[in-house]
Amino acid sequence: MTHRRPLPTATYTPVSQVRSPITLISGMLADLVASRELAWRLAVRGISAQYRQSILGVFWAFVPPLLSALLFIVLQQRNVVNVPDTGMPYPLFVLVGTTLWQVFAEAVSAPLRVVTGARAILAKINFPREALILSALYETLFGFLIRGMLLAGVLLYFGTPFRPRSLLALVTIFMLIWLGLAIGLALTPVGMLVADVSQGITLALQFGFFLTPVVYPAPESFPYLLLATWNPVAPFLLSSRTLLVQGTAGPLAPMVVVGVCLVAGTCLSWLLYRVSMPIIIERISA
């Protein structure tokens, strides 16, 4: 072990990392690059462990959106709920909507779930913490692939013609997943300290399902209009649905606005995650 190469040097001090932003940001980027392989391994581990212990396997990925869609289809057909014209068969509208919502909901809960699941190794081993977030992304993308089969099946069943423009839905769905992960990542540090956050996420997702035009079209009158315009999830979800079914996207401006905020929000959440890690580890294992 001859030291001709320069030794990597790390200094740990009580001074806040925010005070030396260049070191902080270069460390974050370096660790992101270094964590690619580990993230992949962790995602493969998580997914294969999940499916190996289950008999029904992917069935569980299909059931929640199918069930809630079925409920609304029945309610609508019995005229229990009065849904305005959706521009496409209502069952198709609801099935695509609930599947997309499920993808988003899974993205929101993934970071906290993955990081909490890694508590034991976090407390004992110093590995690039970014790997956990990256593996949450991989797991969510895998979940989307599975649900993509459901979507494809639904679209085929309703005889939706394939349009090349529909492939743009992959972009909007990716944005939907990114939005979910960024929200989840922002909540992770506090969620690691207090259990209230994960309870809160579950509750918020239940409400969010109704506050987002998932099972009903975007309202056009005030004040319900706000549900579509001031809801960051709505633009991507609505555009994904119309792109898949009709090959047309919604207005671009809201998506650009949310996208820009998303980039900034992701950087801030990542910074928060990074800075909070030593404090969280100290508290969860003390």
């Binding site: 030794l7 009580p14 806040s16 581990r45 190794i121 081993i125 800075v275 100290e282 508290r283």
Partner: protein, 403 residues
């Protein structure tokens, strides 16, 4: 001389006793960090205590530092600061070179996945690239000593097998700095020898090692220096033997003034003070315990258990009650004193522990319970438990012992 691989200067770390408050402080610390404020970290808040206080040392290439001390003295906390898992509240730590820790062997093992799959996950967590694992896979499996189970799920492994597999992965690292935290406690003897040999090998190759162990033999064999930690503070010993002696002194001087906490919460009687004139006992010495009590009502005909355990002997060295000797003991109401004396002890050169239990009448209620560590010295220096008269004589070689 190149720079030390580890440089610790005045490192301190505080922890909080209360969980709720700890989480609240965590949120506040997080806020302070984000605002870039780092003041007030050196002040203790309510329910906080220093787990590590003002520790400083350097560790150079090829050196091994032993970290010893009683449980709860902050050894693991210090290791975690060195590992960069938590930041010190005061002082700083600089680490030069790649660092690996033999702390959580088998970290990240998923119980439903096979040993083979887990090797890759575990290696990845430790930062070993896939190529490297592929190249050394056979070696890792052979080193683990469990090749026949490599395709079984890890949940079917015994804890020893899990640790073996985890160690086999970690053993193929070649870090500049290695942290070892009492991993040798698990696993059978063959495994322990493998671990120790690996540590010796790395040490010879120039790895700087920080070793936490309660096994003084391991410490004496591998360490160049020891840092003895205790609740009161810490001391760095350049002489390992002196450090080990200091540690033994710490572990066996557990007598404190807080007699209240040794009492059971029996109502109506309180033992508030104990006199123990001497805990270092020579051959033929007496052990004396004087207890001061305050009783609301008289406790007649109590039973007092006295037991003595001696290091190196299985079971009780001595056990009896006052009834063994036909002695009736009555504690009168009000304040009083109870003396217990064990006469003419014949234990040589060992650490021991007296156990005292006081019962109401027919053992219907425990009134007091305490363990008191003692040390039996020998008049002369010898290392056995007994001392026999032996002659030593240096001759001139003529005559000798041959026929």
């Amino acid at each position: 001389m190149s720079l030390p691989l580890i440089e610790v200067r005045g490192a301190s770390k505080k922890f909080c006793r209360s969980l709720k408050r700890s989480l609240w402080y965590g949120l506040r610390d997080l806020g302070a960090q984000l605002l870039g404020r780092s003041a007030d970290r050196s002040r203790l808040r309510r329910d906080e205590f220093w787990a590590v206080r003002d520790t400083s040392f350097d560790l150079n290439q090829g050196e091994t530092l032993g970290l010893i001390g009683p449980n709860g003295a902050g050894k693991t906390t210090l290791l975690r600061i060195l590992h960069g898992l938590i930041t010190p509240d005061e002082g700083y730590v600089t680490v030069r070179g790649s660092m690996q820790a033999l702390i959580a062997l088998g970290a990240g093992f998923s119980p439903v996945l096979t040993g083979r799959e887990n090797i890759y996950v575990n290696a990845s967590i430790l930062g070993i690239p896939r190529k490297e694992v592929n190249r050394r896979f056979e070696q890792i499996v052979n080193f683990s000593g469990i090749p026949e189970f490599i395709d079984s799920p890890v949940q079917s492994y015994s804890s020893g097998m899990t640790v073996r597999l985890g160690f086999a992965v970690a053993a193929h690292l070649e870090p500049d700095i290695l942290l070892v935290d009492e991993v040798l406690a698990v696993g059978d003897e063959g495994f322990q020898i493998k671990c120790l040999n690996k540590i010796g090998e790395l040490k010879a190759a120039g790895t700087a090692i920080v070793l936490v162990s309660h096994n003084m033999h391991t410490i004496s064999t591998y360490c160049d220096r020891v840092l003895v930690q205790s609740a009161k503070g810490h001391e760095l010993f350049e002489d390992v033997a002196a450090g080990v002696r200091a540690y033994k002194g710490l572990v066996h001087s557990g007598i404190d003034g807080h007699i209240e906490k040794h009492c059971s919460a029996a109502p109506g009687i309180e033992f508030f003070k104990a006199d123990i004139p001497c805990t270092e006992l020579g051959l033929g010495g007496d052990f004396h315990l004087g207890l001061h009590y305050r009783a609301a009502t008289a406790c007649d005909d109590i039973e007092i258990d006295v037991g003595l355990r001696v290091a190196g002997e299985a079971g009780w060295h001595y056990q009896a009650t006052n009834r063994t000797f036909g002695q009736r003991v009555d504690l009168r109401a009000g304040e009083g004193r109870l003396d217990i004396i064990v006469h003419d002890l014949r234990v040589v050169h060992a650490d021991g522990q007296f156990a005292i239990a006081i019962w109401r009448r027919e053992r219907e209620e425990l009134l007091f319970w305490w363990r008191i560590p003692v040390r039996f010295t020998s008049a002369l220096r010898c290392s056995g438990t007994s001392l026999y008269r032996t002659s030593f004589q240096a001759g001139d070689g003529v005559g000798g012992s041959g026929p």
